[in-house]
Point group: C2
Chain length 481, copies 2
Amino acid sequence: VSYRRTGSRLVPTSVGPGGLVPVMRPVLKRFGGRWIVSAFSDDDRAIARTDPRGHEYDGFTLQLLDVPADVHRGHYETVSVEYLGRLFHYLFELPYLPVFDDRFSAAWGNFQRVNELYAHAVARAPGDAPVLVEDYHLMLVAQRIRTLIPSFDRPLVYFHHVPWCAPDYFGLLPRPIRSEILSALLSYDAVGFHSHRWARAFLDCCERFVAGARVEDGSVEWNGRSIRVLSSPAPIDPAEIKRAATSHEAHQWFDRLTRLVAGRTAIVRVDRADLWKNVLRGFEAFGLLLRRRPELASHVCFIAVLSPTRTWLTEYRRYLRACERAAARINQTFDGTRRGHAPPVEILVAADGLRPDHHRALSAMRVADALLVNPLYDGLNLVAKEAVIVSERAPVLVLSENAGSYDELADGALCINPFDVTETAHALERALEMDAEERSRRADALRRIILARTPESWIDDQLGAVGAGTSSRTTPKKLSR
Amino acid sequence: VSYRRTGSRLVPTSVGPGGLVPVMRPVLKRFGGRWIVSAFSDDDRAIARTDPRGHEYDGFTLQLLDVPADVHRGHYETVSVEYLGRLFHYLFELPYLPVFDDRFSAAWGNFQRVNELYAHAVARAPGDAPVLVEDYHLMLVAQRIRTLIPSFDRPLVYFHHVPWCAPDYFGLLPRPIRSEILSALLSYDAVGFHSHRWARAFLDCCERFVAGARVEDGSVEWNGRSIRVLSSPAPIDPAEIKRAATSHEAHQWFDRLTRLVAGRTAIVRVDRADLWKNVLRGFEAFGLLLRRRPELASHVCFIAVLSPTRTWLTEYRRYLRACERAAARINQTFDGTRRGHAPPVEILVAADGLRPDHHRALSAMRVADALLVNPLYDGLNLVAKEAVIVSERAPVLVLSENAGSYDELADGALCINPFDVTETAHALERALEMDAEERSRRADALRRIILARTPESWIDDQLGAVGAGTSSRTTPKKLSR
């Protein structure tokens, strides 16, 4: 959540698809609670200063934290995005990056500082509800809380929303930073991941780098404490997502997308244009398919809804341009204008973080016959779940085996190695030509899996891990303080 | 070994530091045997055709294999260098590479073809000596031999000379290729690595990707067979290396390097300029040290002896230029000409694969006060061992924890995380300022470790693993056919 000044008023805006917000909103709406988030902009900081205790927002208390701009930059742009985000997604070009030097050390000081600000805010917050800390930007919070208040006894749960990397790659970090991160995570009562695979990689890192840690499947014993390590994929809120997809605001997008598809079979992808979403190989696979089967070009289209992100980084701008060039090459090769059909690839790029993007994305999901979700590595990929629920056409899901949601969805999806363009092209071909019976059987299977998990199950898993299940200690809305 | 035409004669040449040759030569000189190698150049192919059974060379039989140029390119340049070499060293910039498409599939066909050519050559070779297959270019040989001759009963040992990567990274390969490689390696009787860490990573890959494999520490049970997995770091031949370092040919290089050092304390690095040797961060660390301690610039120098390699690849040329620019920046900042001392950094770049390079490299090792061996990841790094033996100054070894030789040498070295420039700068500072007592204690410890292993121990480890020890079945020179 962020605020923007409109005239003299500050109005809340919300970010596009992907990221933490669509995971947390249904949970907060269901259970209430206090959400403490960094002020990102000067306008946010103004709110944080005038309203340090937070205010009601959409059924929960929203508390903005006044993080100075330069501290925020070191914490978020440098450490979180440039270093840790790339680390957990295996994104470094190792001959050149990462470089751990004075610049990193200074930014790491800011990373620690922001984690301390959160620790102070949590320590001062009223009530005795469990504390859920979301994502790697805040890995150090529990340790700082326990330093501030050694007797702190509210359950402290950390959830990691991106992949965790293998020890060989985690070992890129300087030795003191490795220890600091791992011992900080072992200061929580439980550490959660969307997939068993990331939980396992975390346990492997504890085994390799934490002296004296005893690692079991599902827990770490260390320094006389037992830390639960769980895997619990985040759910979606189907009612809410369907409502948004068929809302008045989405309607004009749906009409436009229906006209764009114009009766063709539609492959759809929806992504925040992060470096790990693999948009480029998706186009390469589609191009390979059309070269092998040029007759498909007239009755198949590929719609990519992309929200640019982190565009202050050269790599992100370079990557988006490479994707656009790949799409343009396909459209040049299979130019259909003279044969009466539209270009096969359409990229719909939304302005960074703008809300209408959400409706465009949902509308694209509605018209999808096939969904391509082919990330290099992805913590979960909620879009895979959203799209299956929103599509009106029994969509075939082509899913990367490196998405966290692979754990849950593999049985109903066509699974691919995202680096294997040949295999991806074959999977797209199979999706386009699948008969109606198999399509609906698979789509039904996926829907059953997706609907089986609710915001309650996700919270239950986490609180259950620390002996504070929603059914006993906390019931919906009682988490609220 | 390669041949070059000099007038009407073909004369053997030898490659520079690094790679397989310095590992294998002392072994072959000691034990004899038949070395089967691909013809690389047209001149090599001429030899292969006129002399298909091989000829005596330096105490062993050298047999060149006539691999057609285009098949060689697919096998070596595309699959081995562009794909597998980068894979095992974690070198891909994942948003863009690797791409597995038709080009890869065609090259993979050539990779299989070359492995089949070797299998045929081994199957036709006389005698019953064990077969030692060296490095990842030839991973498929045993499987092809067993297809040709199901009753083949000579021991088949594979040795992997580069790192092995974690399952998450090995999983970049297309699914059929993963299986093909791992099941091919499990067709050997034993699989060897220079370091326990790479052996462990290989076992982890078998566990993740080979259905039905039972993985123990040191072996894999699969398909009713037991495959030994061993870690056995390659030795050097100290007598040979000392002889070469003090040879007549090396002498003029030694004089030149002594003049270049001009009484300063010398940090030396010697590398084939591969993308994983981390030359760039070495310079960055030295630059950081000089910025913190500018007074060092007048009495310390950093000599980098680099052999360019794989210069047909843009990435390699780009990397070498980046290294040269980093060195130039340091020399500009700490320009000593007006203060009467030479520039602090000297890069000595040798022509690709030229023999004199070896003497220059050895001479640089002789004048070293400190050795920087900081690869991102490296199968072993024989230079670390050579330099300690050759140096005349009780050198301090600054060693990457990701070099295979870390297993053996950690106790005597100053160990660093190669990505941590700050830590590397500190280690260089400590090396430069270490007192004489600690220097010689550490250098003595390193020498003892290095001299404890001989070419015999390395071969013994491998043959012992398949129940064919040198002391019983094979004694030195009896391996010869």
